[in-house]
């Protein structure tokens, strides 16, 4: 019996097909058979070089399709399914990011340069939206603290504020003025210790591939123990400041959305429960974990706070 090479699945791929990408782009063997197999698995072709995440918690990844087809990005539309198509027109070429405020060395850098400056690593994180859905995403990025350390923060810097780009040509909802869904530019903030926490990531990719527009290309924040709206997309400016900033959703509805937005099953959203969550692609719900399962790593930062009041 003749067996051609395309009938043989590489052992690696066979043993961990879904998580094959964890090998990282560096170890990719771009044989046509592999590419075909990856297409069959709906995996994107990786184009980033990064250190892979060993996934010690054995989290089950959501598919690339799920992660890239269900997005909240109000600059385009409130329809989570509609974002993908509308975001195609977004041009992220030559995107610059500025980091300034209470720092010794403010910086403005091309995002491309930024990713050369800091070695990229994969981080497989749980992601929990305030609306009650959740997923597991293999982000690729670098720790925010590395960037903050490089600009040398002054002692007075107590908070970090982030802004999504304001560009009416790029984001249709921004030119609707009074009829816009929320006020723009979208802005978010972290306390200094949260921003400097090793889990806090600036992501430039997922599944080993440069971020899709709908996921917040070319650079976004990922704070895995907080509700998704804290993980601001398509950042063009970061500023170190003295006072707690007013983030967009808190400004929209302070009774329902706070500054901290820590994932907490014991503190319900005023209109719906947060005790359980819908994992994308599943018909069965699961329990929501305190700090989204990162209590060991981040719990200490909130031990003196009343989490019911400081939502």
């Amino acid at each position: 019996m003749q067996i051609s090479h395309k009938d043989i699945t590489p052992e690696l791929l066979f043993n961990q097909r879904r998580s094959f990408l964890k090998l990282g782009a560096a170890s990719m063997i771009a044989s046509s058979a592999l590419i075909e197999l990856m297409a069959k698995e709906d995996l994107p072709l990786p184009d980033l070089i990064f250190k892979k995440d060993p996934n010690r918690d054995h989290l089950e990844l959501n598919s690339f399709k799920e992660i890239t087809s269900y997005n909240n990005f109000y600059e385009f539309t409130t329809s989570k399914k509609g974002v993908k198509a509308l975001a195609k027109q977004m041009n992220t070429e030559g995107w610059k990011i500025t980091i300034d405020g209470l720092v010794e060395k403010p910086l403005t850098l091309d995002v491309k340069e930024l990713t050369k400056r800091y070695p990229l690593e994969e981080r497989i994180y749980r992601f929990r939206c305030v609306e009650g859905w959740a997923m597991v995403v293999p982000w690729v990025g670098f720790e925010l603290r590395k960037l903050i350390q490089d600009v040398k923060p002054l002692k007075r810097a107590k908070y970090v504020q982030f802004w999504t780009k304001y560009d009416e040509a790029m984001f249709p909802d921004q030119k609707r003025g009074l009829f816009a869904t929320i006020t723009y530019p979208y802005t978010e903030g972290l306390r200094m210790d949260e921003a400097m926490h090793p889990l806090t990531l600036l992501a430039v990719g997922l599944y080993g591939k440069t971020l899709e527009n709908q996921n917040g290309a070319p650079i976004r924040l990922v704070v895995p123990w907080k509700y998704g709206f804290k993980s601001i997309k398509s950042i063009d400016r970061i500023s170190l400041i003295e006072k707690q900033p007013l983030n967009t959703w808190q400004k929209e509805n302070p009774r329902e959305f706070g500054f901290y937005a820590n994932v907490n099953p014991e503190v319900d959203h005023p209109r719906w429960s947060q005790k359980t969550e819908r994992v994308l692609g599943k018909f069965v719900k699961q329990r929501t974990l305190l700090f989204n399962g990162y209590e060991k790593e981040v719990g200490y930062m909130y031990k003196d706070m009343d989490l019911r009041k400081e939502i």
Binding site: T78, S79, W133, I182, S273, R278
Partner: protein, 182 residues
């Protein structure tokens, strides 16, 4: 013949939902998707039944069937809440119902619809038909229910609310006219 045609027409959202969930598998957030399709269909059908007397007088003979289909979609909506959203946990479902305004508004609406469905037979309708005006309470409550369930309203949802508002205006106008002639 027309009855059969309307019956099939009213089943389309259900068939569509089943196809999307199990055949094409395009629903990324299935529980939410079931809520959206069943909820929107139920509210649409119930509102539609109240407009028949305004401009579809020919269809009034099918009003009961359309109303019962509205109840059917509301029932699917409730099943989604109990079985999938609350994981079949009755105690948790009960607690959530008492705790969250938008859920108890939905629950009250469902109980009223259940009463209407149960008393929709020819014999019982003669006795209880006059109480079927509670549908207007259902319409108000479910509208609030659907607005409260959203994080923020989309353009299409605003459009939907506008249509509801226009229907309400016409109905109120009509009721006032009837009162005047009495």
């Amino acid at each position: 013949m027309i009855r059969g045609l309307i019956f099939v027409l009213l089943l389309i959202p259900f068939i569509y939902l089943v196809l999307e969930l199990f055949i094409f598998q395009t629903a990324i957030d299935p529980i939410k998707y079931i809520y959206t399709i069943t909820g929107a269909t139920a509210i649409t059908l119930l509102f539609f039944t109240t407009t028949l007397s305004l401009w579809f007088k020919k269809l009034i003979r099918y009003r009961r069937m359309i109303g019962l289909f509205g109840f059917f979609y509301a029932f699917l909506h409730l099943c989604n809440f109990f079985i999938l959203d609350m994981d079949g946990n009755l105690l948790f479902a009960f607690k959530e119902t008492l705790d969250k305004p938008f859920i108890y508004l939905g629950m009250i609406s469902f109980l009223l619809l259940l009463f209407m469905a149960a008393t929709s037979t020819k014999r019982l309708f003669r006795k209880y038909g006059k109480y079927h005006k509670v549908l207007y309470i259902v319409l108000v409550l479910t509208t609030i229910h659907f607005v409260m369930a959203q994080k923020s309203l989309s353009v299409s949802q605003y459009g939907y609310l506008t249509v509801i508002f226009v229907i309400a205006l016409f109905k109120i106008k009509k009721i006032l006219q009837v009162k005047k002639t009495q």
